[in-house]
């Protein structure tokens, strides 16, 4: 080693050969890792692939072993049966309205509260922030029963507003926006605007919001998927079939006695395909949002 250090330009033939074989071994190891990761990735996706493919199978083919990934005689019978027998589209619509309204509410409250908590140094506000942080630890399941009675008292059971009651604010959202404001919006910028005579509302609307676009995008996608995949709360709030979200509708549909796997798979596939498409499309936002949940320190 010391000799090579002394004369970096010159290497003996043996050294070159050694380097080459080491490089070759490393490349082989990388190929092996690639194969392993590809197998794992495919295994992770396999249950979903089978689910979609089962939706297209006839009852006979469902019994086949080994199971086929591409059905031999694809049929739409399962799809037309679930669409005929269940209000699947209505459930999807309910979920969609719920998720969109929830995202809007979470975005609005998080943006305002996050900004105020980041840039207005009053003692009362920091106490407030501690309270918000503390409640973030409490899982939804802990307080959903009293919340249910609140919804009931207001006559909101079986309505979108009732669903929304549990998903109006997100403690993590407020926290995320606050962090973003602190890191990406310098005090001087806001001070300069104030000196120029800008009103507080104008500053928030014209300076702060545009700078938060990335963070709000990530939070919005996170909020949407949170509501879209909600289960326990919609299950207790919606007791009538026409008020179900798609998650609840599917979960209860599959407990019926007369339901066969082909139809359940078809219904599930109908839900999965749009949400996977949406995810792949918004992947950047989503990954950014989820990754930021890990940066709480």
């Amino acid at each position: 080693m010391s000799i090579a250090d002394a004369r970096p330009g010159e290497m003996t033939a043996a050294e070159i050969a050694l380097g080459r074989s080491r490089r070759r071994r490393r490349r082989a190891a990388d190929r092996l890792i690639d194969v392993l990761l590809t197998v794992v990735s495919c295994l992770m996706l396999l249950p979903l692939l089978f689910l979609v493919s089962n939706g297209f199978k006839t009852p006979q083919e469902m019994l086949a072993w080994p199971p086929t990934i591409i059905p031999n005689e694809p049929t739409f019978a399962n799809f037309s049966a679930v669409l005929r027998d269940t209000p699947l589209l209505r459930w999807i619509g309910n979920s969609l309205v719920f998720a969109v309204l929830s995202s809007i509410s979470i975005l609005a409250t998080s943006a305002i509260a996050g900004y105020i908590l980041a840039k207005f140094p009053f003692r009362s506000l920091s106490v407030l922030f501690m309270v918000i942080l503390a409640t973030a630890i409490v899982p939804f399941e802990v307080y959903m029963i009293p919340l249910y009675f609140q919804a009931q008292a207001l006559g909101l059971l079986n309505t979108t507003w009732g669903l929304l009651l549990g998903y109006l604010v997100m403690s993590f959202g407020i926290f995320l926006i606050r962090q973003n404001v602190i890191h990406s919006i310098p005090d001087e910028l806001i001070e300069a605007a104030r000196i120029d005579g800008a009103g507080e509302l104008w500053i928030f609307w014209r300076i702060v919001l545009p700078l938060l676009r990335g963070a709000l995008g990530a939070l919005g996608v996170l909020a949407f998927f949170q509501a879209w995949t909600a289960f326990a709360w919609p299950l207790i709030v919606a007791s009538r079939s026409e008020a179900y979200t798609i998650e609840v509708g599917l979960a209860l549909f599959q407990t019926g006695f007369t339901v066969d796997l082909g139809r359940v798979s078809a219904a599930s596939a109908l839900v999965l395909i749009p949400s996977i498409t949406l995810f792949v499309w918004l992947r950047r936002n989503f990954v950014q949002g989820v990754a930021s949940t890990g940066l709480k320190e």
Binding site: S41, I137, A232, F257
Partner: protein, 296 residues
Amino acid sequence: MLRRKRWRFAMLAILPTLAIFAWVRIYPIAETLRLSVHKWDILSKNKPFIGLANFRELFSDRLFIEALTNTAIIAFGVLLITIPLSLVLAALIHHRARSRLAGFYETAIFIPHVVSLVPAAMAWKWIFDAKLGPLNNLLGWFGVAPKAWLFDPVLAVVCVIVLCSWQALGYAVLIYLVGFKSLPVSLYEAAKLDGATGPQSFRLISVPMLKPITLYVSVVTLVSGFNVYAQAFVLASDAQGAPGRQVRVLVLDMLENSFRNYRVGYAASEAVVLLLIVLLLTLMQFSFLREKGGRT
């Protein structure tokens, strides 16, 4: 004067959010705590204060104990599968970050975490199905006798653990990948110069350096494990609560006590137990982190 005006703006702007927050978070949390020390069956008007009687009853309640045990087994089972697997996968993906397939690996492993829970659980229900499912057929090749995965109380818990791990893995890998990216490259270069192999620097550099992340992911995994409900609902309940077919978990027991047995106060005390577990886990995380901060 200016400060006063600014204060007024801040208060006015935050007021609506604050009001919503108090209404749908603070109040129901306080109400859970209050109800847990009262006896209230939805129908009666009065809610007598009964102190800790609900909690005392909980720990002699066979169903609650069963639910608590199952939930704890599920939470720790998911943890034991997810953490080592996600750490290794993240390390491998990070190692191949420049490969063209890196995006595919990340997306494929992450998709189970984002897809709706119920349809995904349906896929696994088919896999575990005793008659139609591929799992029994696959095991048949190795001479394993077919099992009624979802009907056996022990195996059904295993199934829930597998499903939950499949979903939790993507999140853990993602957080670990963020962690790997933040590790100093120079450390690995130094190790390589000293002749360390890849697995060696993984074991001796990455694992210890990522300890805070491991702690964080573990707590998140455990907390969501203790809140497990939908997975157990879909996999292990058939025709609405048929006995012997359910993996009883905490949230299920809680909802049943509240809405089927009309014992809201009692259900609230279960919720408080769940809250205490989550608080304990979170406090453990913070104290570990502080300890680490003190040392360095």
